[in-house]
Amino acid sequence: MTEFKSRKQRLREFLLPEGKTAASFVRSLRKLAGIRRASAGKYDCVLYDSFDGRAYAQNVLLSWVDREGGGILQALSARDTALLWEQPMKKPPPRFGWTIDRPDKAAWLKRCMGLRALLPAIKLSVKRQTFRWTDDEDKTRAWIHVEDTEISTGGEWAHAGVRLVIEPLRGYASSVKRLEDRIVHDTGARIDPEGLFVRLMERHSIEFARRSARLNVILEPEMEPRAAIVKVLTFLADVMEVNEEGVMAAWDTEFLHDLRVAIRRTRSLLGQLKKQFSAEDIQPFRDEFAWLGQATGRMRDIDVYLLEIPEFQKMLPTRFRGDLMPVRDLLLKQQKAEHKKLKAVLRSKKYRDLMTRWRAFLEQQQPEPSAPSGNGATVAMVARKRIRALYKRVLKEGWAIDDESPAEDLHELRKSCKKLRYLIECFQSLFPADQIGAVIRKMKQLQENLGEFQDLDVQIDGLLEFAEQLDIDREDTPKNLLAMGAILGNLEHRKREVRTEFKGRFAAFSSSENRDRFNNLFRYAQRQAA
């Protein structure tokens, strides 16, 4: 992903000899020829990442250093501490990397972070002494930094380590290698192949894993079905709660998205596997999660519209693109109001009670480890049965759709597909990864088509709704309406294309080859159950 105008300058990091302080090390360093003091000072350094650690997952460290003479944002490779790029930045980086005023770096950050905000992951306070290693023209060949670092942990500062960093300038690598050898020989410093920042991030990555919304709950095939389902539901409750803070603070739109997906998955599981619980017990939860889904829906719709505005603008000739601004302003206003309501929902007694009771319910469902299951069924059996039933329903609904079928039929099929996908994902650990991966990929292709068809419908309805809300007395409103009309035309055209594409997508999904894939899964589950 790092196709970037990068000079890939490698920074070499060293560990100080045991028992040596920064001050005593500096004394030995200064005895070496050609070493000149450049600067000394204390600065703050913040390692940024998304809430779920996307940059680190791609082996990138994003550090913003607030030092005298201007801050700087650096992208470093976590693999080999090469400097990928740097950007002067006086203030901390903006919440969204793609808004920085350097188009190439903005695009790079967009690719790396997607829609996620840059959030401080680790805060450091660094006492840095910098030296230059020069040649006989007083030209710097390498920068040498001795950094005594403290890390902020819950408001307290703790010593994180002292590191020596050698930053060779391009074209001086071979002579800098000689310097490194001398430093190792004369001072006893050791090469640190990993580096302090990577070690700190690695420790922090436990936090990233905890926050991930990716459904990857490990189940054993012989587990008692209810215990297995409770394990998945507990994970989903964790996802809901872990995203609450980000939704409240509106750091980025993915928090609400992840929260809502967890709600939908919970509802879907409760619906599909209702027989595993007493109907009396779960009906109130099904109703309340439906309420929660609804209460968070409007805000998500507005988020999606706002994310689509740039795409809508691209549908217009350049000179008319500004005519969509009133729609954006209207959406921003509505987003603000909806966010207020959403915060009230998440702070409400109803929501808090729901989550408390839900957690208590899940706790109660944990069976005694030694207790035998009611009818001897295992989760593998239940998973096979439910996935098979839903899969059959999807095929039946899909086969019934022809060119004349109403849009509602496609929407129904979309919903069935979603349910099937959720079930497959919940139970994916029961199946071989490559087989389940292939099935999910095929499902995705069909879902993309159905999802786009539905999205286009929602977008068209949304535009019509916003058109009615524009102030008719404003001088620019006719221009805004014309722009929206042009977009509507585009969306309708695309909708027809997507409808035509459906046939091919469903044919691929229902092909004998793909049916074999599903049947292999079912056979595998049967063997597991046996």
Binding site: E86, D135, E137, K139, R170
Partner: protein, 246 residues
Amino acid sequence: MKVIASYNIKGGVGKTAAAVNLSYLAAGEGASTLVWDLDPQGAASFYFRIKPKIQMGGKGLFRRKRALERVIKGTDFPNLDLIPADFSYRNMDLILEGLRNPQNRIRKLLKPMAREYDYVFIDCPPSISLVSENVFKAANVLLVPTIPTTLSLRTLDQLVTFIAKRGYRNFTLLPFFSMVDRRKNIHRLITKHRPMGMGKFLDSTIPYASIVERMGTERAPLEVYARSSPAAGAFRSLWLELKTRL
């Protein structure tokens, strides 16, 4: 990648000062920037304290694979690298003449640099030669520092005629007034009544100032040692204006 050549047929007009100071400003904004000191006198290399020597010599540059990448040196400033001058550049015309497609060799050499750099500033040697024709083929902008005197304008006129005759269309010709001495009547007169038909002069002008000459003793761009001087301000204005024309 934009290639900006600081060029004039005449010497001593402020080409190197322009290349060094503008490249420093570009790099300071976070743009990955390269300066190629193509002048065998090596003034730009000297200002950046880099020895004016490349191991493979001028000939090697055109013969070896990925030659430029091998000779690039990092300056003391972030985002700013330099290809040093070499004394063998004085024979570059002869080297080029012996090669196939001699007018396009520099452009070809620079092409892979687009992966790494946003801007390349070429500090050109004075005169019109095969080297300068190579620069004309490679450049997006021909930045021409011009002293506001009759002789300098005459030289600029010669350049404009030459470009028109050869039909170069790949670059924008951007002359600007350099080493402007407000005490001199002729300088005031010419900068006020800009000559027509010699490319569109940039509005920014660089004053004649001893602080610029001090670059030789400081061996650093103006911003480093005289940030608040009017001359440093003039280069900042020039860079701002130049960016709008890229």
